[in-house]
């Protein structure tokens, strides 16, 4: 290394100082790629970490946990488990639900309903000592035995301005309730659940709050000390045998695994997007370094002549790549953490919206996520520095550089590269054929990357072909400037082709995502207009959290049916279950109403009325498209549901389109649902009004009829549609932000390449001036070159983007989420976005000196 050190000054640091702008752009390019990746990884890690922390905290010292795989755990289960006491096992029941805080900033809190007698044996509670009188924990826990009392962790109390004895207003199960704060907890033990956004109440209070009388959400089992694995497994088996249908037992951690599975598709999709952004970043390293090598060729020749080995020169340039990688990646981590934080806060965590009804997680700077993003940035930087570093190492100290000869060797590579590119595109086409691997569209992603790589390899051929074909016509139409531009394009092929490839990458990402999101949106708009046909939609009030939390009691259903002007009420009721460890939803509605209105489009286009009427008369189910795709279920197949009296098997009458839930739903008629699951009430209700009643009038009547007893959110058809689309757009806001940044970076990259090429060609520009070309014409030639680069980049990008969009829609989305999306190209958006992404160097090239070109040293 000591032989390398003296080279850093002349070959690296000084030139970098001279080229601050390009240096900064390169670091920024890498930083954006790394930031994107880091943000995605961090946001995901945060969601999972917060969930798994809650799982751990809530599970406490439990060795086994009983959970519902159906509508809930019937309270009788406790009696079935009473034999456990004799075996030294403590049985701790709890109810878990989410409530919205009235007022505030849309806070939601987990409500943990506990049994104060047994709970301390599984979970820790520490009180904020208000006076010097130290009360026993148990004594204070009994405070929650009082009706409508809660214990609140200190930070939450502080945030909401609560003290002991004050009242906490919440919306729960469609009612506004006031809970008395019986005590303030230190942020220790169980109080750390949901990052401290949790309150503790007596089980009965929680059941009543959420209309869950007779049901539990979990039973934690604290096992006796000194149990070996075999004993434990045997005990688990015995517990399983004592459980009613729809209830399972296992280690507490298994919940985290389920959630991990839920967010996996989502995470993999975003990570793939981040990787593409990083590709754009690697282009920067390659471009900056290859231009550096070119500009420092004479210097390299000199140090080689002075005795530096080619290995040292290679190492210097590799070190430059690594240095840029380290700087860019570090900056990327900082940016990424910021982006992740913003994403978690602003979007509330897109994942949270869809997958977890839980308080928005706080940013966890998970070391593994940070390290992954950092190393990916560093390694890709070093890899993209390899080629330029090798080129530098091969500079012959004896001979002078002759630009053309180097480029000539590159030009010979055009055909092999193009053939490789074509092969990659072929592979991409093949990769769209296989199905998902472990539920993930891995081949689909491979196809997307193959398209990106294949089109990049075609870029040199595109440049030379278009240059050759267009030369004559362009010279006739645009004058000699076009020829100068063409000569420059092909003359610096190694860099212009890479610039074209990078721009096409950025453009293709934008086009692909625009096509995908545009198609998705058009499909959803369509679907929403087909399904949301009722006049009013009623859900439990969620305060400023804007979320529908919990279930409305049956009383609301009957009450609404009696409101004058209401023609029909279709209550939707559901719960979560699992099939082979994968979660899905069991839902219900009034099939007679759906059959009458036909507002549930079927995936195969068959008539909704016929399908639903048949399902109703035969007691069959309909399943959503994601369910059908995920579990490979078709019309006529059987599905099994965890009914209270044991599993029931139903025939599938049809598959319907559903874009509201990617877990998949099995829907049955409401009366069958109530009989099978002994559950009533509604999660939401769709109301049709009599023709004479306006939606606004209907809304007023409903609110008047329920005032004082229930807190309902009543939305008109129009406002719910708007809300649905707003949610859709919000979900993709992050995607668009990432896209915009990546494209901005790609455009900057092309700009920086052009700038560098102009600097590099100072001598040729001087020559043109000697031959009588005016400064205006020289700058026009550079603009033509920029335009040609942009046009080629856009053309290739649109081609690649269309292909990628198709893959995203028909392979990746279909396999990840089971959604069929109709291709719909957002022409207007693309037409507006594409011209603005073409690079136009705003500044004419550095005015060349009106003197003859400086001679290079004579060849020996």
């Amino acid at each position: 290394m000591s032989r390398v050190a003296p080279l850093f000054g002349p070959l690296l640091f000084r030139p970098l100082r001279r080229d601050r702008l390009r240096f900064a752009l390169t670091v920024a390019g890498i930083a954006v790629g790394v930031a994107t990746m880091a943000a995605i990884l961090l946001a995901n890690a945060s969601v999972l970490a917060s969930f798994s922390a809650t799982v751990d905290v809530v599970a406490g010292k439990a060795g086994l946990t009983v959970l519902a795989d159906g509508p809930g755990i019937p309270e009788e289960t406790l009696e079935r488990l009473s034999w456990l006491r004799a075996r030294g096992v403590t049985v701790v029941p709890a109810v878990v639900a989410t409530a919205a805080v009235q007022g505030g900033d849309g806070d939601v809190v987990e409500v943990l309903g506990i049994d104060p007698v047994t709970d301390p044996s599984v979970r820790d509670y520490r009180f904020n000592s208000r006076s010097d009188v130290e009360e026993t924990t148990l004594g204070r826990l009994f405070a929650v035995f009082q009706r409508d009392s809660v214990l609140v962790p200190a930070p939450l109390a502080e945030r909401l301005g609560l003290t002991e004895g004050s009242e906490l207003g919440v919306f729960a199960g469609g009612a506004a309730r006031r809970l008395r704060v019986a005590g303030i907890l230190r942020l220790e033990g169980a109080a750390r659940a949901a990052a401290g956004s949790v309150v503790f109440a007596d089980i009965a209070t929680a059941q009543e709050l959420f209309a869950r009388e007779g049901f539990l959400d979990r039973i934690d089992l604290v096992l006796p000390e000194g149990l070996n694995d075999a004993d434990r497994a045997a005990l688990e088996e015995s517990v399983r045998d004592s459980l009613p249908p729809g209830v399972t037992v296992g280690r507490p951690e298994r919940r985290t695994a389920t959630v991990d599975r839920m967010v996996r598709s989502f995470r993999v999709n975003l990570t793939a997007l981040g990787l593409i952004a990083l590709l754009v970043g690697t282009y920067f390293v390659y471009s900056t370094l290859s231009i550096s090598v070119l500009r420092r060729r004479t210097d390299i020749g000199t140090v080689r002549a002075l005795g530096a080995s080619s290995r040292s020169v290679f190492l210097v340039f590799l070190a430059e790549g690594a240095a840029l990688g380290v700087l860019g990646s570090l900056l990327g981590l900082v940016l990424g953490a910021g982006m992740a934080k913003a994403a978690l806060a602003a979007v509330g965590g897109t994942a949270t919206d869809f997958y977890l009804t839980q308080a928005a997680p706080s940013l966890a700077l998970e070391p593994r996520a940070l390290l992954t993003a950092f190393l990916t940035g560093l390694v890709t930087s070093i890899l993209s520095a390899l080629a330029p570093a090798l080129e530098a190492a091969h500079v012959d100290p004896a001979s002078t550089f002759r630009h053309g000869s180097v480029e000539a060797s590159r030009r010979r590579a055009v055909k092999p590269l193009a053939i490789a590119g074509a092969l990659l595109l072929l592979l991409a086409a093949l990769a769209t054929r296989p199905g998902p691997v472990g539920g993930l569209p891995l081949f689909g992603f491979a196809a997307v990357f193959l398209v990106v790589a294949g089109v990049s390899l075609l870029a040199p051929l595109a440049v030379t072909t278009v240059a050759r074909r267009a030369d004559r016509l362009a010279v006739r139409l645009l004058g000699v400037e076009a020829r100068i531009a063409r000569a420059n394009l092909t003359g610096s092929l190694s860099r212009t082709a890479v610039a074209v490839a990078a721009l096409s990458m950025g453009i293709s990402m934008m086009v692909a995502v625009a096509v995908m999101v545009g198609s998705f949106r058009a499909t959803v708009v369509d679907w929403v207009s087909q399904t949301l046909k009722a006049d009013l939609f009623v859900a439990p009030e969620g305060g400023r959290s804007q979320r529908a939390l919990g279930r409305l009691p049956e009383e609301v259903v009957t009450l609404l049916e009696r409101v004058p002007g209401v023609a029909s009420v279709d209550p939707f009721l559901s719960f979560e279950a699992t099939r082979d460890g994968a979660p899905f939803t069991v839902g219900s509605g009034r099939f007679a109403l759906v059959a009458a209105h036909g507002d549930l489009p079927m995936a195969d286009g068959s008539d909704t009325r016929t399908v639903l009427a048949r399902a109703l008369s035969r007691g069959e189910a309909v399943v959503s498209e994601p369910y059908a795709v995920k579990f490979g279920v078709r019309t006529g197949d059987l599905v099994t549901l965890p009914a209270v009296d044991g599993p029931v098997t139903l025939r599938v009458a049809g598959v319907y389109r559903d874009y509201s839930n990617d877990r998949g739903t099995v829907t049955i008629d409401r009366s069958l649902f109530r009989r099978l699951f002994r559950m009533d009430g509604a999660v939401s209700l769709a109301l049709r009004l009599e023709p004479a009643v306006s939606p606004e009038e209907g809304r007023r009547r409903i609110l008047a009829a329920t005032e004082g007893r229930f807190a309902l959110r009543v939305q008109t058809n129009a406002s719910l549609r708007d809300a649905a689309l707003a949610l859709f757009d919000r979900t993709f806001a992050v995607t668009y932000a990432l896209e915009a940044v990546a494209i901005a970076v790609a455009v900057l990259g092309v700009f920086s390449t052009l700038l560098a090429l102009v600097l590099e060609r100072r001598r040729e520009i001087g020559l043109l001036r000697v031959l009588g070309a005016s400064a205006v014409r020289v700058s026009r030639a550079v603009r033509y070159e920029a335009a040609a680069l942009s046009a080629l980049g856009i053309a290739l990008g649109v081609f690649a983007g269309a292909a990628m969009g198709w893959i995203l829609i028909h392979v990746v989305n279909k396999q990840s989420f089971g959604w069929t999306i109709r291709t719909d190209v957002p022409w207007a958006f693309l037409a507006g976005a594409l011209p603005s992404s073409s690079s136009r160097p705003s500044r004419p090239p550095a005015a060349p000196p009106a003197s003859p070109p400086q001679p290079t040293p004579p060849p020996s």
Partner: protein, 229 residues
């Protein structure tokens, strides 16, 4: 037809910076006067640094004298606008360099056609005339070759063709053989004296080769920025 050139007491000074010390002034030309008749073939002789290149730059309107005047066909070059100077370089004064200075990214034909296209000659005609010029310098088969595929002598012949193709009135050649072996050098000089001089073009050939000077009809010797008597 060749151009008449009048050089009147031309001085060119550079305010040198770091190299020669603060505020120092180095004088490349210290008052040079001569005049050329149309068709004159002048060899400009002198050692390196005597001011030959500076004088050629001034004659090519690439630079302006510090004082004095240069008249070409009666027009003072210093009074030309930028556009006028571009036009002068395109149509009147053509240059051949020691290091050929072909554009590496263009073929021979394109290099030769370039000045015509810059002068808005239609592309078809430009190609035709460029091909003819390549024929005249004996390289018709190298039309599609890139500079890096040519030898030094061939490159210089392409450069001569590029200078010829605009039918200039004044040819400025700056050490055109300085970078060539003697046989290639002689070939280029043949071209210059036969083709160019034969058309009555005024030629200024800066060189320190006596062989080159022998072809000229007149010799001017520069030393330390002054013409030797």
């Amino acid at each position: 037809m060749g151009a008449s050139v009048v050089v009147e007491n031309v001085r060119k000074a550079w305010s040198a910076t770091s190299e020669a010390g603060e505020g120092a002034v180095s004088e490349a030309l210290a008052g040079v006067s001569f005049s050329l008749e149309p068709g004159d073939f002048v060899a400009l002789l002198g050692p390196s640094g005597c001011g030959k290149s500076t004088l050629l730059n001034l004659l090519g309107a690439l630079d302006r004298p510090t004082s004095g005047r240069i008249l070409v066909d009666g027009h003072d070059l210093a009074l030309l606008s930028d556009a006028g100077r571009d036009l002068y370089r395109r149509r009147t004064a053509a240059t051949v360099f020691q290091f050929f200075n072909l554009l590496p990214t263009m073929t021979s034909l394109e290099n030769v056609a370039l000045p015509l296209l810059l002068d808005d000659v239609p592309p078809a005609e430009a190609d035709e005339r460029a091909a003819a010029a390549l024929g005249e310098v004996g390289l018709p088969e190298k039309a599609g070759a890139f500079p890096w595929q040519l030898s030094g002598g061939q490159m210089q012949r392409v450069a001569v063709a590029r200078a010829l193709v605009v039918r200039p009135a004044l040819l400025l050649a700056d050490e055109p053989t300085g970078n060539l072996d003697s046989r290639s050098g002689a070939r280029v000089l043949d071209l210059v004296s036969d083709l160019v001089a034969g058309r009555g073009v005024t030629i200024v050939l800066a060189t320190h080769s006596n062989e080159a000077a022998a072809r000229a009809t007149r010799v001017l010797r520069l030393r330390d920025g002054l013409l030797e008597a």
